[in-house]
Symmetry: C2
Subunit: 411 residues, 2 copies
């Protein structure tokens, strides 16, 4: 018999984040954990003792299958940054007294950069105070910007969603015998991994997007308009994929030129929206062609109805590997994915010191973007293609995908 376990989800959701939750839950249960708790809304909820006994919510194998297919963080999430230990001793005391009361021995946190910062600080505090709790991070983010891991669970499904619907959008653009330019806006504040995945739409039955712009490369608006003009003279339907986070040479986001630039979200981040429409309107005015803008929007992180089976399986595996590592005595680590080979694709899990991961942002390497910054290279495509393979069929009930819902949220 092992001691009690607690697990939380943090940061933005992905289509497969709950598969990692299931991976932690099932592996911990199978390996003899006494109780398995879930924090509601991550550490922020934990601080208010918002904790549930997961066995009351995940009651059987059907629940497990439903949860794997449920988008958004089942337990709720937060964007809570722990204070430095020196400045915020009170917060740590509070967290650890709650963990003590629950008799927690293993602590798992599913998240991205900020969440790994939480694992780092909590494991440091435990070490300093000689508290015997193991802290392991479980990687997750559609942005794929975590260091040390080959890729992050959540990215493959977002890439599959983006490239699948882009194929549909490209075909839609061919419907009329009339020149038209479509600009699609893809998530990604600083890293272009998601926008780059648009290149997957170029395949036997689809020519793919004509250009792709990533935030890693300075964006020149005049040069963009010129390029669009040139392409639309040569072909009827032009499709351009770009990242919401593309920036001007002076460092401003392109979307800061729009009317919505004044809006910031609850975390003080500038609202990145309207880039595609801004550029589509500009192209329409300056080139005189029919344009349209499409934001792929929040569906990129919650389209559970079309996920990658590779991704959802790996999401489960990193959850399971986290439990195994903690039960074997590891702490202050994050599980990583380690690619063994590309063809055939083989990947295993590994473990890495969280201190070297937290707050580091992995961008698309310059050499994976073509020279003029308008497309990704075949190295990029070979990297991402294995991650979108195969499907996990949704469980359809009355015509719609069924989810496992957390009851107290249904009101």
């Amino acid at each position: 018999m092992k001691g009690n376990v607690i697990v939380g989800q943090s940061g933005g959701p992905t289509a497969v984040i709950n598969s990692s939750l299931v991976g932690v839950y099932k592996t911990a249960k199978d390996r003899g954990a006494k109780k398995i708790y879930g924090m509601l809304h991550g550490v922020q909820g934990l601080l208010e003792e918002k904790v549930v006994d997961l066995s009351e919510h995940i009651r059987n194998d059907l629940d497990i299958e439903l949860l794997k297919r449920t988008p958004s963080s089942y337990l709720g999430s937060c964007r809570y940054k722990l204070p430095n230990i020196a400045d915020g001793e009170e917060t740590y005391k509070k967290i650890f007294s709650i963990l003590k009361k629950l008799e927690i021995e293993y602590f798992f946190y599913i998240g991205g950069n900020d969440s790994m910062d939480t694992i780092k600080k909590l494991s440091d505090y435990a070490m300093i105070r000689g508290i015997d709790i193991r802290f392991i991070g479980v990687p997750k983010t559609i942005d794929n910007d975590l260091a040390a891991t080959d890729h992050t669970p959540g990215y493959g499904s977002a890439a599959k969603y983006i490239s699948s619907i882009l194929k549909e959008v490209i075909r839609d653009g061919l419907v009329y015998d009339q020149k038209n330019v479509t600009i699609v806006e893809i998530m990604g504040r600083n890293a272009g991994w998601l926008a780059g995945a648009a290149a997957l739409a170029r395949c036997e039955d689809c020519e793919g997007p004509d250009m792709i712009f990533l935030p890693e490369i300075d964006f020149d608006i005049d040069c963009f308009i010129e390029r669009v003009d040139k392409i639309q003279r040569e072909k009827e339907s032009v499709v351009i994929a770009l990242s919401e986070g593309i920036k001007l040479p002076d460092g401003r986001y392109v979307c800061e030129l729009t009317d919505y630039a004044q809006y910031v979200d609850a975390f003080g981040h500038k609202l990145l929206a309207g880039t595609a429409r801004f550029l589509a309107n500009k192209a329409a005015k300056e080139i005189g062609c029919k344009t349209r803008a499409i934001e792929f929007s929040t569906l990129q992180r919650c389209a559970s109805h079309i996920v990658s089976r590779v991704d959802i399986t790996e999401a489960f595996q990193v959850g399971g590997a986290a439990v195994k590592a903690a039960f074997e005595g590891e702490s202050g680590k994050m599980i990583t994915l380690k690619r063994l080979s590309n063809d055939p694709y083989q990947c295993t899990t590994d473990i890495y010191d969280v201190h070297k991961i937290a707050n580091v942002e992995k961008l698309v390497p310059r050499e994976w973007i073509n020279e003029d910054g308008t497309y990704v290279t075949s190295d990029f495509i070979n990297y991402v293609r294995p991650l979108i393979q195969a499907e996990l069929t949704p469980i359809m009930v009355d015509g719609l995908p069924r989810h496992l819902y957390y009851k107290e949220k249904m009101k």
Copy 2:
């Protein structure tokens, strides 16, 4: 042996419009048509003799299965309005000389209101001139605004897409422990059938949208903001679905209040876009809550990766029924869908005089919208629910849905 057949697609595409094309093609072939031609870009292409022999493109049963799953109009579409016969004799002479050259005896046109106007005029002309060609319309439109038919092929799949992704978006809105309002913008210029389908997301595992606004009801912005304010005081995550075509009491579209109001599309229609974002920004300012806007965009008419099997089957059936009717001597008619019962859902095809259909727009009945105009009634939901049932699995190749592509468009 029957004579030659020609088929075209017109107006906006749907996710299942190619299933109707397959229905025409396969039934005509099975019933002994000599040649089956396709017009590229509808009547507009026909006038330029852009015509293909479909058997060179749909070569086997796998092609048929792929084509059923291919979004956008395979043959290309147009928005071409024929002149009145009295004013445009030349156009008619040209069309009929091309049809004569191709030895066409049966003419099928897959489309909505405008396309039925084409069938009406061509069949009138043939009758006046004593030309022995049969003209039959095959209904199609995601907007569901065609008269005489219980519903239109294309609507069920769009409704399934909208309600499926709305479930995901609603769950996404619950992720943070923070008040937020999401406004989703759904297609529909004058008729609220698509926006109303958002109500399907209210089911056992999802509370559905909090309010739904259709273009059939005048939209009062102040009243809207008040209502949103009231709901967001009572619950954490608020989701509102509205039609892009909602109008102010003075008849202007709400989106005419936005900065994008100046844009018109190639057909002179005002670009309906930005309504959700306009209202989200207004709500953010006036209520002070976190808001976001999501446009469901063109995916509503091209998301072949999640279609309704009921819809795709009926789309095929109306194509087949059109051939049967024409081969039995009918002309100047449109195939309709006739619902026999709701539970169990049973539906058959019928045939209707196209003169009574063309240019008539079917709106959501007032009694299917609640009194204060903020939701649809159970009658509406019972009407639409059978239409989203069951799925047709995409054929996935290398991680992406495979389509049948028309080669000359791939350049």
